[in-house]
């Protein structure tokens, strides 16, 4: 029964082409360890350096988005401050391309603004993304933003196809948010 259940989960992942997945509380420490494993695996497969870096760059921005903006968090300070944010990250192959999908809960109140930004980015071509990145690089960050606010642009820029995203409302307070990038 136990093996059957987990074999089922594994089969689901395999069928979606997922070679790497993590679900649970993420932290900067986990980002580092998973990132190293990801790079080692790609390097062993003799993926060229720039591609490894592109995949890694998208992975880092996706993970940091979860760590910063997940609506399910535990924070605390023992020896040093710790921030654990719930979410999931999956990396797989599809039609010869690497894809990264991240998922995490967000507050419903934040959905419209996030959706607007993503929809805008999705509609830009390569040159427009580059111009947008250059503009935002020179802007001071928005109020309440902990990152550089160019993480999503960076993801769109390194992706080889337009980004895909979706929201699923879970209750009156939160929605599940997914973002997929193909590299």
């Amino acid at each position: 029964m136990l093996a059957q259940q987990y074999a089922g989960i594994k089969r689901d992942l395999d069928e979606k082409g997922i070679i790497f997945s993590f679900s649970g509380y993420l932290s900067e420490g986990i980002l580092y360890s998973l990132g190293e494993a990801l790079r080692e695996k790609m390097t062993l497969e003799e993926t060229d350096g720039p591609t490894v870096r592109r995949v890694f760059a998208v992975f880092v921005e996706q993970m940091q988005n979860i760590i910063r903006y997940s609506a399910e968090k535990m924070t605390g300070a023992r020896e040093k401050p710790v921030e654990l944010s719930a979410g999931m990250v999956t990396i797989g192959m599809e039609g010869g391309k690497v894809f990264i999908v991240c998922g995490n809960t967000v507050y419903n109140a934040d959905v419209p603004r996030l959706r607007d930004r993503l929809e805008y980015l999705k509609g830009l071509d390569k040159d427009a993304i580059k111009t947008y990145y250059r503009e935002q690089l020179r802007e001071t960050p928005e109020e309440g933003a902990r990152g550089a606010n160019i993480g999503l642009i960076e993801i769109a820029r390194r992706a080889s196809e337009p980004i895909e995203y979706d929201f699923l409302e879970m209750d009156e307070g939160k929605s599940f948010f997914c973002l997929k990038a193909r590299i």
Binding site: E28, L31, Y32, E36, D48, G49, P50, R53, R54, F56, A57, V60, E61, Q64, K130, Y133, R134, L137, R138, P141, G147, A148, I150, G151, I153, E154, R158
Partner: protein, 132 residues
């Protein structure tokens, strides 16, 4: 002014600012878990150095292989500081190194260079996985 030297870590670049010689270098990868904590002392040292009257011409070698978007913002701050100092008459040249075939890194260099008027900026291709 005393040099600023920080060894590379898994997530932060090597910092080698030889202020006496006017030769500054950042090399490696940058995706610190806390950008403000890592770049804060670098900004402070650079600001103090640039505020010194006269001084050597400055050479800044950027030999970064990868940096995340938060680090990009920090690098932009550094470029803006350099541009202001160069506008005030300091001679500053920046060399941006990127590995051959790494178009992303080359483009990022161009992103930073776009509005430099006083800093002399050079893109330099280096062999992949080789020391520059």
């Amino acid at each position: 002014m005393e040099s600023l030297k920080l060894p590379a870590t898994g997530r932060t670049p090597e910092v080698d600012f030889d202020f006496a010689q006017g030769v500054l270098r950042l090399s490696g990868e940058s995706y610190p878990d806390d950008v403000a904590t890592f770049f804060g002392p670098i900004f402070a040292a650079l600001r103090a150095f640039l505020a010194e009257a006269g001084g050597h011409p400055i050479r800044f070698d950027m030999e970064l292989l990868y940096f995340n978007s938060s680090s990009a913002k920090a690098l932009m701050n550094i470029f803006q500081m350099l541009e202001t100092a160069a506008g005030n008459g300091r001679s500053i040249s920046v060399t941006w190194c990127y590995e051959e075939n790494d178009d992303s890194m080359q483009e990022l260099g161009e992103d930073f260079a776009e509005d430099l008027r006083h800093v002399s900026f050079t893109l330099k291709q280096i062999p992949a996985d080789g020391a520059p």
